[in-house]
């Protein structure tokens, strides 16, 4: 068992059931050095690193079992198909789906959200309303804007409170969700503020008026135990590469009785039943939504990632995220000039910690400059608007820096971030 870790405040954090040092040994990239500095990878909300097992599972698939799925009838085709469908079953179990048929593989979460918008969108008429929130990632904004343009539907959004949480009171006062609402699509966890949204509560409001609920689970599924039924979602999008899996694979989970009623999205091979030049009939879900050769090796890699996460236990992954987030909030709170966006308490809060940094004379150091100096000390963070420009506009800033950890993140890496920020501040502040 790991020893209790002393924190900057001198209080020992409780021992959790996740041995970070042992976990880190599975991620060779984490022992890299950047120049003279050890890498502190704090950009996991952007993409996570991959354990050896995942990379090996992908390599083994290509080297030993590679073939196309479903349409190849030979031995290798059978092996590839059962590996691909096996991954679908793992995903289904991982999110608490009723069956594997509720899991649609896409190329990423953006494609999954576009699929949701296109297929649900056929039912919209002018004047119908779609509700999102101001804290959404662009991938949960733009597909709905395009849908609204196509159909004449109206796009509305939840605002946020000063603490960076969904402003449910104002939404209620404004009648945001009403009898014209057809679709509500919100993030489970904000990729900028870290806010964990009360999805079940919002879903209840939406279902009461007969609206469908779409959840962007991109930041939630990697970090929290997931039960789609408890979330109250009708459709949920997430992506493999933020949860130890490879890039190139995303998921749209959907309630089967809903998926069954939705029209196809992309047309092509394997999504059909019978094709005639005069018209085609379509396969049942999930095949209906998977035109063309799917991301086979990527599905195998995602399956291996899920095996890895389940071996650690998602309760432990979530507890570790909580511990690191609490430590990061505490440690960044001690750095002069740092202002954290979003909830400053690690309650209903995910691991993305975004912040701005100003010098002693009050000048803000631009996040790209922050990023560059941190990178020179081995600390990898993201600087910019994190694909959430409307949120930054709402907060009255153009950009922010974001640190985000995962199951391999250590307190020492957070310390490296805090020390780096002190240095950035002195560099930009010391020359005025």
């Amino acid at each position: 068992m790991p020893e209790p870790v002393p924190t900057a405040s001198g209080v020992a954090a409780p021992v959790v059931g996740l041995d970070v040092e042992r976990v880190r040994a599975d991620f060779p990239i984490l022992s890299r050095r950047i120049g003279d500095w050890p890498l502190a990878y704090l950009d996991s909300a952007n993409t996570s690193q991959k354990p050896k097992r995942v990379v090996e599972a992908i390599a083994r698939h290509y080297l030993e079992h590679n073939a196309n799925v479903a349409r190849a009838m030979h031995t290798l085709g059978g092996e590839a198909t059962s590996a691909f469908e096996g991954a679908r079953e793992k995903v289904a179990r991982f999110v608490g789906a009723a069956s594997a048929a509720e899991v649609v593989f896409t190329k990423n979460a953006s494609e999954a959200l576009n699929l949701a918008a296109h297929t649900l969108g056929g039912r919209l008429s002018p004047g119908d309303e779609i509700v999102i929130s101001v804290m959404e990632h662009h991938s949960n904004i733009v597909p709905w804007q395009l849908l609204a343009q196509r159909t004449g539907a109206i796009l509305r959004w939840f605002d946020i409170t000063p603490d960076g949480r969904l402003d449910l009171e104002r939404a209620a006062a404004d009648g945001l969700i009403n009898e014209r609402t057809r679709i509500v699509s919100i993030a489970w966890v904000s990729n900028v503020l870290g806010t964990v949204n009360p999805v079940a509560e919002v879903a209840g409001l939406a279902h009461r008026v007969g609206a469908h609920v779409v959840v962007d689970g991109s930041q939630g599924v990697p970090q929290l135990p997931t039960d789609v039924a408890a979330l109250g979602a009708d459709l949920m999008a997430f992506t493999g590469h933020k949860m130890l899996g490879p890039t190139g694979i995303g998921v749209l989970w959907g309630r089967y009785d809903l998926l069954e009623t939705l029209p196809p999205f992309l047309g092509g091979g394997e999504m059909i039943e019978v094709v005639r030049l005069t018209g085609s009939t379509f396969a049942k879900p999930p095949a209906r939504f998977e035109a063309g050769t799917p991301p086979i090796a990527q599905a195998v890699g995602l399956g291996a990632a899920i095996d890895y996460l389940e071996r650690l236990g998602m309760e432990n992954v979530a507890a570790h995220e909580q511990r690191i987030t609490r430590y990061a909030l505490e440690r960044l709170g001690q750095v002069d000039g740092v202002s954290v966006l979003g909830p400053t308490e690690a309650v209903d809060r995910g691991g993305a910690v975004s912040f701005t940094l100003s010098t002693a004379d009050g000048t803000e150091v631009h996040p790209h400059d922050v990023m560059q100096f941190l990178d020179a000390r081995g600390v990898a963070v993201r600087g910019g608007h994190h694909c959430a420009r409307p949120l930054h506009e709402r907060l009255g800033i153009t950009a922010s820096s974001r640190a985000s950890g995962y199951l391999y993140t250590t307190e020492a890496e957070i310390d490296a971030l805090a020390e780096g920020l002190d240095y950035v501040r002195s560099f930009f502040g010391g020359r005025s």
């Binding site: 631009h366 600087g383 608007h385 153009t398 020359r431």
Partner: protein
């Protein structure tokens, strides 16, 4: 090379006190250039007097590299002919794509030679070019507008 060497004193000085900043009248062309990956933005106006750049005025948000580079650019191009200014744009762009290997002519590029260090950080080259690209675009539009008058 170190990050401290990349952020030369000249760059920080321009960042802290941007030359020719603010939007001014008159002008023949106004453009807005954005760096979509980071949200850096510059709105820039060009005023011509015949074939000479009479004024460049701008407002922008962004990192020290993009803001300082725009400031340095305005110093360099104001008072020159459009052809001379575009030649400097060419030289600066070439330097920024040299990955640190260029030997820029300090007599011509003046303070802009300080950005040679930035050219070794590929992700930041577009920051240094933002204001220059906006100028090139606006100058072309201003020339076209003058031609119509």
């Amino acid at each position: 090379m170190s990050v401290e060497a990349m952020y030369q004193e000249i760059i920080l000085d321009h960042y802290k006190a941007k030359h020719h900043s603010g939007l001014r009248e008159p002008y023949q062309a106004q453009v807005t250039h954005v760096n979509p990956t980071c949200g850096d933005e510059v709105m820039l106006r060009v005023a011509l007097d015949g074939d000479r750049v009479a004024d460049v005025s701008y407002e922008g948000v962004g990192c020290s590299i993009s803001q300082a580079s725009t400031s340095v650019m305005s110093d360099l191009v104001i008072g020159r002919t459009v052809d001379e200014a575009l030649a400097l744009h060419e030289e600066f762009t070439e330097m920024m794509h040299s990955q640190g290997r260029a030997e820029p002519d300090e007599d011509r590029l003046e303070d802009a030679v300080a950005f040679i260090g930035v050219s070794q950080f590929p992700a930041r080259v577009k920051c240094a070019l933002l204001g220059w690209s906006a100028f090139k675009d606006a100058a072309a539009q201003a020339l076209a507008a003058e031609g119509k008058e």
